[in-house]
């Protein structure tokens, strides 16, 4: 059972063929495609990364386990970031970061001395990892040496340090349990400013005007999520779009960087960066879905990827749409697909 990773499934008119380990090319099987982050069910330790090849229309489940003789990524695979030839896979509830080669997914190293890690990014030859630390301490950003993979410095930000975005020599960090975004100077690795946004900030994107957008989930059951535009130079809030609902804090931007995408329930919304209010109609509603959980847009094809976690009762499904919301196809992923990395 462990030796047969069978992908021959047929969903939405696509036919996937099997992909076996012994057919691996020396350069690696994962050179071009989409990495799907499957968080796994909390406490079940079944988080994984699936790989979707647009060219071959194939999906390979749990590529880390496949390549590394059944090793598991662990409990709550939160995110993945690519730095050069390495993939940094952040495993939240296991308090670790797994590092593997990105093209072959061979395991290289495990960073263990981190606490409830969330997201990773890099700039200037340094890695930055957000950590919640605990539910009673303020979150932090750990600076990681990309060669030794060791933590060289920790920077305390706000409660629930979540997503990261580098613009120039500034690192923006959303503090998800608060209503603030911390700004870190990546030369000195010190917090230089704290911007007040709205409750529960999460992911960032950069628009065509080089302004930052951060999505805020809103207060508990208050239906007041917001998209907030920040000028990275002045570090001030430029504009707010009320979303009129609580939202998961995932946001994506299209290839032109003029349209923001977010979701709620089974609906995906598209809003122009120039808009003042959110459209009353969703771009799309997926009747086959139980509840969307992850969102990404492939900028090479402008295709929208949405993960449906199926309430964590079974394997997740990835739905693909054109940028105008027309259904393309869907395929099965691992449990709880929460995000996508396009390579």
């Amino acid at each position: 059972m462990k030796f047969i990773y069978l992908m021959g499934l047929c969903v939405g008119g696509l036919f996937f063929v099997s992909c076996e380990q012994n057919e691996s090319s020396p350069e690696g099987d994962f050179q071009q495609g989409v990495f799907i982050i499957n968080e796994g069910a909390f406490g079940a330790g079944d988080g994984s990364i699936s790989f979707f090849s647009q060219k071959d229309q194939t999906v390979t489940e749990d590529i880390f386990g496949l390549v590394n003789n059944g090793l598991a990524l662990g409990d709550v695979v939160q995110s993945m970031a690519i730095v050069g030839n390495e993939a940094y896979i952040v495993v939240n509830n296991d308090n670790k970061v797994e590092i593997s080669t990105v093209n072959t997914f061979q395991s290289i190293h495990t960073i263990r001395d981190v606490s409830l890690p969330r997201y990773f990014t890099s700039t200037n030859g340094k890695g930055y990892l957000t950590e919640w630390v605990s539910f009673e301490d303020p979150g932090r950003v750990s600076v990681i040496d990309l060669t030794t993979h060791e933590v060289t410095k920790t920077i305390t930000t706000g409660f629930g340090s979540e997503n990261l975005l580098v613009v120039g020599n500034k690192l923006f960090v959303s503090n998800n349990f608060t209503n603030t975004v911390s700004v870190i100077n990546t030369t000195t690795d010190a917090v230089i400013n704290t911007i007040t946004v709205a409750s529960a900030p999460g992911e960032f994107v950069v628009d065509a005007q080089n302004k930052i957008w951060v999505i805020c989930g809103g207060e508990f059951q208050a239906n007041n999520g917001q998209l907030i535009q920040i000028d990275p130079d002045t570090e001030e809030v430029v504009k707010k779009i009320e979303l009129l609902r609580n939202v998961p804090v995932k946001v994506a931007i299209d290839k032109t960087r003029n349209y923001l995408f977010f979701f709620s329930g089974k609906e995906v919304f598209k809003v122009a960066t120039t808009a003042e209010v959110v459209p009353s109609q969703a771009l799309l509603t997926e009747s086959e879905a139980i509840g969307f959980y992850g969102l990404g847009i492939d900028h090479s094809s402008n295709v929208v990827y949405v993960g449906d976690a199926k309430g964590f009762t079974s394997a997740g499904v990835v739905f693909r749409y054109t940028i105008d919301g027309a259904f393309i196809d869907s395929f099965q992923a691992g449990r709880g697909p929460n995000g996508f990395v396009f390579k």
């Binding site: 069978l6 079940a44 090793l71 308090n95 139980i290 199926k310 009762t313 079974s314 099965q332």
Partner: protein, 630 residues
Amino acid sequence: MVLRLVLFNVFLLCVARLAAQTDTTMLAPLEIYGTRILPYTTGTKVSVLSMDNSVQSLASLLTGEASVYLKNYGNEQLSTIGFRGTTASQTAVLWNGINVNSPTLGQSDFSVVPTFLFDEVVIQYGAGSALVGSDAIGGSISLNSRPISFSNQVRGLLHMQVGSFGRLSNGIKINGGDSKWYFETSYYGFKIRNDFPYRSPAVGFERKQENAAVESDGLRHKIAFKINESQQLSIEGIYVNNFRENQPTVTNFGANETLGTKQYRLALHYDNTSVIGVLRTTIAAIRDEQVYTDDISSVISTNQWAGILNVDKQLTRKATIRWGASASWYGAIGDNYPVNLLESRYDLFASLRYSLTSFWVISTNLRQTFYDIRYAPFAPSLGTEVLLVKYKFAKLSARSQTARAFRIPTLNDRYWLAVGNLNIKAEEAWQYESGLQWELRNGTMEVKADIGYYKTQTNNMIVWLPGDGSSWVPDNLQEVSVEGAEASVTANSLLGTTLFSGKLSYSYTESINKRGIDILTIGKQLPYVPLHSARATVQARYVGWGITFHNNYVSKRYISLQNSERQALDPYLLLDAELSKEWKVNDVILTTRVQVGNFFDLYYENFAKHAMPGRNFSISLSLRVNNKIE
């Protein structure tokens, strides 16, 4: 289906033989005491386990049952039940006839129920709601006290055990009294460090388990007073304290979650025998406190008050009846419940057991439960047992039951702030089952073989799924159909002065999702329901020496509803062994036991990515004193 047809044919064939039977005395005299369910379980499979005075959890005790799957999150960690292919909330757990499943979750953690504080565990297989009320879809588990005997004597027990990974337990019991009074006190303490080594394929190197230590202690007091020959009063109180570090996944580093639970149980009984019958009235208070800590603590407590009136009466030589009513009030205190939450439930019930002939008995049970201002599904059951053939040393009997069972939505389903739904329906199930039992008994040998088939259709199953916004909501979404077969053989044989005994049991369980969640999950086996499960025990006893081997086989289990083969848990076959020696000196019995668990040192999991310990050892000592006061 084939099996069912065969069974019916056997029934038909045997009816002819029955006519010729006259002199059978199949019906054993009825024992009526407490609110024991046994007289009215006609047509179902029941096993009664007497406690052997060791300090262990109900979870460990039930691993011997082939039709029960315990999803343990590690050694002595959270253990939820799957009985006959049902979910964790579809088994009723009763104490003194009161459902003690958590009113908020609708299920029990079997790792925090200490068998040391009970005398007997009665396991009824299958739909039992007509007899015991809500939750008994897969089965029911009753934690009982033994009937009180008022006589001049004092009994005592002392138990001690040490074992691998810092296992240490001790227990003491004293009971006794005179012709008017009876008292009983039990206390136990238990702890385990649980730092066992494991070698999981998901990790790739040997690790030591972290954050899995458990400590527990508990107390039971019981006092009874015989007012006169027909009246008796008793009070029983239980307190159990359990604190554990929650064992993390095998891949985890630096876990620090803990869970503390406290259980308080108090029951007052008044028994009266009169022309009306044997009347038992019970009033009880049940309180559970739970402190979950993951850096910060969250506290939930629940309260339950119950009153039960139960009357048993032998109407004629052929008929006995039971009738009664109960009322319960449930409350929950926590951040996610409305202030002053109080839900009431009322039950009306009646049972009849009737011997049509000397070889044919039927029972019917009827129950209507009301919760809040709503009707639970009316639950009737009809069961029958027929003695088909009887020879001098052997007999063959058949049983059958058709029953409806239900599960009332939990306080979480109904009241969880902002998403709880008062209109959510109760789960309801219909079950049919039948079986054959063959018994052989002569001077030196006793053999029992039992085979059974059942089918359960459960509708309106409640599942929590993401709603339109970002919150999760409960809904009556799922339908599940379970079809299963159970077979067991037990044999005892005396060869010279050596007693050999053996038990083999096997369960086949197909638990299929018929509706709900997602199109890809229709027709799939429920997660954590093994298709095949078997137990084998062989034992030899010779002048106080005893040697026992237990085997436990569990087939592959899927961990999610789309039945991913890649993630399925591997089947396992475990072997445990035990060597014991008993010494008797007058009124004193000393028993010592050496046990080896997981003899083959196998790595296995009962819940995904949660390690179970490899080979482990323990040694225990029990001292029993039985002193009759002249």
